[in-house]
Symmetry: C2
Subunit: 142 residues, 2 copies
């Protein structure tokens, strides 16, 4: 039997390898240079090279030259890359709740002033999108 066709699997094909998401986390933090990403993630430089190439090829990052002499580069987020922030946010929330021991390494403040407690809601009604509140829509493919 062929494995299930699924957007989660498709997404993981692109950003599901080890270090990819952590590299993106660094870019979100503004650490856009190779050495910064390597140091802050702990990825080995050769693997990081491959991951960054793949992320650029996938349209998640763009490689920017910010100096001609000497040639120096920065990695910037595309729209697709920026859209991954929600994924990171959910990982962070889950890690905060179920994995991280002791004080949280990072706490976000929302522009409303409160400490961020993220919730996933339905854009249409604003109610939370819980596991129980979801069903397969009729237009789903077989």
């Amino acid at each position: 039997m062929a494995p299930r066709s699924c957007s989660v699997a498709n997404a993981l094909e692109v950003v599901g390898e080890r270090w990819s998401l952590l590299a993106l986390r660094e870019v979100f933090f503004g650490n856009t240079r190779f050495d910064q990403i390597a140091a802050n993630t702990g990825a080995s430089r050769d693997v990081l090279t491959v991951r960054l190439k793949k992320l650029v090829a996938a349209g998640v990052l763009e490689k920017h030259q910010y100096s001609d002499h000497p040639p120096r580069h920065e990695y910037h987020l595309t729209d697709a890359g920026r859209a991954l922030h929600n994924v990171l946010l959910m990982f962070k929330e889950w890690g905060d709740t179920y994995v991280t021991q002791g004080p949280l390494p990072l706490v976000y403040q929302h522009s409303c002033g409160a400490v961020l407690e993220p919730r996933v809601v339905c854009a249409h009604c604003g109610e939370e999108a819980t596991l129980e509140s979801l069903s397969r829509a009729p237009e789903s493919a077989a």
Copy 2:
């Protein structure tokens, strides 16, 4: 330099390996048996064995015996496992938008009747938690 301490990294330690999230996806779909998970994810059986053991050890899944004679098992979600649904949801959303070609393999309907368009919001004010609306809170550790 030591890599950054981060709940995203911690979360990925637990569920970031290949096949882990896809195995969980299957359990969310109600495919709780080894062979179903293997067939629907495409993971090789030996790797899947290791992943499931790790997920059980991490408290994300529980192994249930549903028949004594012959011994048969099912994997069930714990609270921590159920909490990962948001992560899957965000991956699905991102994959739907930026990776999957053609018709979406799965569309969710929210209990309000609308097709689900998930949004991440601040639980306090209900406004969207965009990248720009977030800042590092003062209580964040160094």
